[in-house]
Symmetry: C2
Subunit: 434 residues, 2 copies
């Protein structure tokens, strides 16, 4: 992230040197104002941005000539002849987004507001390796652009979410546990070089956090923690409206925080007592199997006899039917997750925690235990206004979040200043260094 | 913090509306460039900021006429007649800073680079309450300004560090455990109203983190965690070069994170197993007393007989003399602190941890245990380049950090844009809303 910004500042400066004035910066201010605030009148733009009306008229004219800003009817609210309104033109370009899961590929076209306009979804096994999977993604990009009527246009950017740790600067997976063959594969470089557009790659949890902020349970919230409880456990941390990736991009990797000291609980990472090893979906499934084998739970034993195996989903179902062992398993998992979150709350003092991922749908038992520990173990000042909510958009968070990531990057002030005088980032010479 | 920025944006906009152009913003860019980069030639300024040479010449002229920028000799490095260099004038104004401890008041005058130019230190008991202590601080402000030769000038801002939780937006302590009478006292408002200058108040740990960044072990580091191990334990979190205060300002309050589940370890906060209750200086002193009473350690028993009581300092001394019980106590404390930090590293992926505070001076045993756990329990990606260092400036971090806080706030881009056309923030109508 740091290096990235450094580079983009250099290109910004290069453009400024050429233009020799602050026009690009003024255009960026006005464009992002309209993009974030929505349709507006010229007097309102002048008042809120602090530019004179003459400057606003001139610069909005420039933006209109590039197609980035368009007329949008009249404001009916004031007396006399209502003033003309203008708005950001989200249809001026499009971006391509892909959200890769362990067994699925979601690919979509989004407009410049990050709204999904076409979406295809397919089964695919990530362990087939990067060559096969990314070729398939490229194929799906073509398909979905055809569906959306964008086959002719050049996308402004591409975003990819991957189910494992990613070094954001380089766009390469780092020792991803469920992605054999992907370690250090240059995902960003490959797509950049093949498609000649800027590409950003991040892990699935960070993009889900961005998706929750764009259109889910964290809409409009600047400081929150998103926790995905699936087979494993991960977190996306948003602070001052920005995803916190940390220095190497591993921030939020909470699955391997130690929560119990029992030397018998060995995690797949090799350490003992990791959160994932006691509260992840895989761990819940294992505990349920054990309870079924030992006939501690008749319900689970019957489910196992029917289904051959047991997953976290089965534990949730059994808990809903009142199976005390399953209720206890979910309570234990919730308390361990709550313990990690209480620490995170004391460290970071967010205003919201959003719980998502497959196991999060397990119902109220898990959520109640998480709440109990977080509110009981965090500082009163830190929990005074703290909310803990379920994800409301579930699986959609991924693809919406990848779109939000690309839009955030494309419209970051320094980056806008470097392309705005061309009217779009398309066709710039060095997308790789973008 | 959020509300603060909101307000400052509004005042920025008010100024921009009056000036009707981006001049204030250009002046801000140039001023902060020189302030951060040091003395520079005009061609270099033009190249690095992207402004044309004509704009640079004109705007630097404006800044010189306000006294914020001054000539600084010639650049000898290039051939021919060396170009004139210019620099930020840190003597153009001064700020007043106070760092309050449990039993001490440090007060200083700093220049606009945050360098301390005069400093007085006195014993004082914070539990005397805010009226008595702040009157005394105001008196010391007069004294130190007289010493520094600044008695005539109006300070540009005031900063205060307090030994307890502070809500940064309002500048009020929130249920501070060792500050009876201070809860919710309007420290910021009082000083603002009496001295008619902008005031910022924060807790001692956050300001120490800023001090380490300004001139200590975290110099130039953008993403780090500072941990103060004193009577209690607290952390200051810096991310992207900015202190992370969280939504209510309680971020970094790590002393009450649960690290053991032993129901017998009851913390003064009422919870069980808090970090502070097992690894803080007070806890170390208590454990040492117990070891002396039970004659588990002859060294500690002898020290106790001589001194009447035992503190963390005594444990450190006994450990240096090879007392095995004291070594063990420090190892245990270090492991618990390391456990909290391993979690923090997994959550935030910083590049540096700085250990400071009175107990941090206990020597290598404590540090070795902290390192052992952090490197053993954090993700390999997160510790690949992670460093763990002692504070090198110790107590000086507090006063240097308060100065850095005030300078950071005064020169925040939005705030500079609101005062730069006056040449200084002095005499603005509403310092309270600053």
């Amino acid at each position: 992230m740091r290096r990235d910004i450094q580079i983009s500042r250099e290109s910004t400066n290069a453009v400024r040197s050429r233009s020799g004035n602050g026009v690009a910066r003024d255009l960026e201010t006005l464009l992002n104002f309209l993009r974030i605030r929505g349709a507006s009148t010229r007097p309102l733009v002048a008042r809120e941005t602090g530019f004179s009306r003459a400057v606003v008229a001139q610069r909005l004219g420039d933006l209109q000539s590039t197609g980035l800003v368009v007329d949008s009817g009249r404001d009916a609210s004031s007396g006399g002849r209502p003033p003309q309104k203008i708005q950001f033109n989200a249809d001026r370009g499009h971006v391509l987004v892909a959200d890769l899961g362990a067994t699925s590929i979601d690919v979509a076209v989004a407009d410049l507001d990050g709204r999904i306009v076409a979406h295809v979804s397919e089964d695919a096994d990530i362990s087939a390796g990067p060559e096969i999977i990314l070729s398939h993604v490229e194929q799906l990009f073509d398909n979905v652009r055809a569906v959306s009527g964008q086959a002719g246009g050049v996308p402004w950017g591409i975003g990819v979410g991957l189910p494992g740790p990613v070094e954001f600067n380089t766009g390469r997976p780092v020792a991803p546990p469920i992605m054999p063959g992907w370690d250090a594969y240059p995902v960003r470089e490959r797509l950049t070089n093949r498609l000649c557009v800027p590409v950003w790659v991040d892990n699935d949890v960070n993009v889900m956090a961005l998706g929750e902020r764009a259109e889910g349970s964290a809409r409009g919230v600047d400081d929150f923690i998103f926790v995905k409880i699936g087979t494993g456990i991960g977190a996306g941390i948003v602070s001052h409206g920005t995803i916190q990736r940390g220095v190497q991009g591993s921030a939020g990797d909470v699955g391997h925080i130690q929560v119990v000291s029992d030397p018998d609980i060995i995690c797949r990472c090799g350490n003992v007592g990791c959160l994932e090893a006691v509260a992840g979906g895989a761990a819940l499934g294992r505990s349920a199997l054990r309870a079924a084998e030992q006939r501690a739970s008749v319900t689970l034993a019957e489910m196992r006899a029917q289904r051959g195996t047991l997953s976290a989903r089965d534990v949730a179902e059994a808990a809903r039917h009142g199976d005390p062992v399953s209720v206890q398993l979910l309570q234990q998992a919730g308390r361990h997750i709550g313990q990690m979150l209480a620490t995170a709350v004391n460290l970071m003092n967010p205003s919201l925690i959003v719980i998502g991922g497959g196991v999060a749908g397990a119902g109220d038992v898990l959520m109640a235990s998480i709440r109990e520990v977080v509110y009981g173990r965090s500082l009163p000042l830190a929990t005074r206004h703290l909310q803990i909510r379920h994800s409301t958009i579930g699986d959609r968070a991924g693809i919406a979040g990848v779109a939000a990531m690309v839009i955030d990057e494309l419209f970051a002030p320094e980056r806008v200043s470097s392309w705005i005088e061309n009217g779009s980032p398309v066709g710039r010479p060095e997308p790789a260094f973008y």
